[in-house]
């Protein structure tokens, strides 16, 4: 159950991340900032006043947040909107630069938000984090959000706006000369992905029920980056598959860390072994499929039927020829 929820949340996050990194081709390294904002916003809004007083023992929570409690869907939406608002504010400085500089600026914003979460005790309870959230996240919510995120992103990418974003990735100068307002298109992708990061963060918070700033380090961004690179930068299908595969593999590989008996030898459990195997898998992907598992290809129904037909007709190539 928890695993399937995790899969759905990571699909949401990866697909949103792929919109900026894969489709627009901008190396954005700050999704953890937006996930943090979404998680804290949603958590602070769903907690009952009683829980809040229990949590905030060192510094009391700012008024009026201590008094209000909203239903889960509204809190999720608020998480997404706060993240999107942060995207709007940071988008202006971020898209003044490109390439490595853009990566560093977004990385910086990610760290800023984490440090703020650590020190803004009256709002986030500092390093203690928030405990005892009600586990609202269930399969309906997590998969519902994932389906909406995938539908919106796929629809956008396949529209004229998505085409313009891909044009920016291919050659920004030519895109400008073709009449594309590159800043507005990049900002759109950035804010839309920020919204889904926020909603995903809210879901994540109510799945694990305890959040603290240490949960949202750059490591989270890095995992997402691995997912979309392995799936194939720019391929939404790839992002979905890789997100599912990664979340599941991380759990299934726990087997290798347990004590096991092979050919009469007893091997004690090696903690961290699954990380070794996972990274070996990554190496293989990067060596053998440079563009990730799917490259830029996408799943289409026509593609599937073509594949099936080829599979059926393959054994009889000679029968049709004279």
């Amino acid at each position: 159950m928890r695993l399937l929820n995790n899969v759905a949340i990571f699909i949401t996050l990866a697909v949103a991340y792929n919109l900026v990194n894969g489709v627009c081709g901008q190396l954005h390294l700050g999704p953890n900032a937006f996930i943090t904002l979404g998680a804290y916003t949603a958590a602070l809004l769903t907690m009952t006043p009683a829980e809040k007083t229990l949590n905030f023992i060192i510094t009391p929570l700012y008024w009026p947040l201590g008094q209000i409690a909203l239903p889960f869907p509204l809190a999720l939406l608020a998480g997404g909107l706060v993240a999107a608002a942060f995207g709007l504010v940071t988008g202006f400085p971020v898209f003044r630069v490109r390439g490595d500089y853009l990566a560093i600026v977004t990385l910086g914003f990610g760290e800023v938000v984490r440090v703020l979460a650590n020190n803004f005790q009256g709002l986030t309870n500092g390093p203690l984090g928030l405990k005892g959230l009600y586990p609202y996240t269930n399969l309906w919510w997590s998969w519902g959000v994932a389906v909406v995120a995938v539908a919106v992103v796929v629809s956008l990418v396949n529209s004229s706006y998505g085409r313009a974003m891909q044009a920016i990735r291919e050659d920004e100068t030519a895109a400008k000369a073709s009449g594309i307002n590159t800043f507005r298109h990049l900002l759109l992708a950035y804010i839309l992905s920020a919204f889904f990061f926020g909603v995903g963060g809210g879901l994540l918070a109510h799945l694990i029920t305890t959040i603290s700033p240490s949960l949202f380090t750059f490591f989270l961004t890095f995992n997402l980056l691995i997912i979309i690179v392995v799936g194939g930068l720019g391929s939404t299908t790839g992002a979905v598959l890789a997100a599912a595969f990664f979340t599941l593999a991380g759990e299934w590989l726990r087997v290798v860390e347990e004590p096991a008996a092979i050919f009469g030898f007893t091997i004690p459990g090696i903690p961290g072994m699954r990380m070794v195997i996972l990274s070996l898998g990554l190496l293989l992907v990067i060596i053998f499929c440079r563009l990730g598992l799917l490259g830029r290809r996408e799943f289409t129904w026509e593609g599937l039927s073509r594949l099936l037909r080829r599979g059926w007709s393959a054994p009889a190539p000679g029968s049709g020829a004279k």
Binding site: V152, S155, L156, S159, S160, Y161, R163, A164, Q166, A167, E170, D171, T173, A174, A175, K176, A177, S178, G179, I180, N181, T182, L188, R296
Partner: protein, 254 residues
């Protein structure tokens, strides 16, 4: 009144005067050429007129209106389209998609309408597709519509770049060395092609070119630049005899 006019246009990069006091005036329907040795400042003129550079002095007028310092996408919306000396296609997008990107700036549907596939977006997308295919047929690339643009033969890529510029709905077209790398036969085809689109789309054109055969065969007015200075301007036949031009191209007799 001139469609595009530059007044005392100056561009310096630090201490280097790439362009000094350029006064160019292209009338509606004009087919003008800009020639000069390497490093004369021709591409700088294009970058200024298409908004990729902001001039350090002077003004650029479009139909009498000051457009100095407007961003490139705004100028494209006004009707100034350009191609690049070293072609810049969207290599991984299909040939048709390259054209459709050009149409995008004329679309009125918002991104919300696009995501939800509302009627206005669907209508615009349909007309763009049929107009895009028609444009490809016209430039002889309809068969390659689904191929990635980066895989096309060189000459076809050149034509695709012009077609993409046409898709933005221009009134004024800037062609930066369209004949670079083409053989004499292809150059001849290009001359007919440029004349054809000029008539059909009612364009005014400014061409940078090294290939004098193309310039002499096509342009009715030439401006010659050397080291950022305008050394001659006028009829192609007179330009050919102009001693300053000959000196710039061939060096002076000592």
């Amino acid at each position: 009144m001139a469609l595009l006019q530059t007044e005392h246009l100056d561009m310096r990069f630090g201490g280097l005067a790439a362009l000094s006091n350029l006064n160019l005036s292209v009338p509606e329907g004009g087919l003008y050429g800009l020639i000069g040795p390497n490093g004369a400042g021709k591409t700088t003129v294009f970058n200024l007129v298409s908004g990729f550079l902001k001039p350090t002095g002077g003004r650029i007028l479009w139909n009498g209106r000051d457009i100095t310092g407007e961003p490139p996408h705004r100028l494209t919306e006004l009707g100034i389209a350009r191609t690049f000396q070293n072609m810049r296609l969207f290599g991984e997008l299909s040939v048709l998609d390259n054209i459709l990107v050009g149409f995008h700036c004329r679309g009125r549907a918002t991104w919300g309408e696009a995501v939800l596939r509302l009627p206005r977006y669907r209508r615009e997308e349909r007309t763009c597709r049929s107009r895009g295919l028609a444009l490809l047929t016209e430039v002889g690339l309809a068969d390659a519509a689904d191929h990635p643009a980066g895989k096309l033969p060189y000459g076809h890529q050149r034509r695709l770049e012009i077609a993409r510029a046409l898709a933005t709905g221009p009134r004024f077209l800037l062609l930066d060395e369209p004949a670079a790398g083409l053989n004499p036969q292809e150059t001849q085809d290009l001359i007919f092609f440029i004349r054809g689109i000029k008539e059909r789309y009612d364009l005014s054109i400014l061409i940078i070119e090294h290939n004098l055969r193309l310039v002499m065969g096509l342009c009715r007015h030439l401006t010659v630049l050397d080291h950022g200075l305008t050394i001659a301007a006028g009829d192609p036949v007179d330009i050919q005899k102009n001693p300053a031009v000959i000196r710039a191209y061939l060096g002076s007799e000592q």
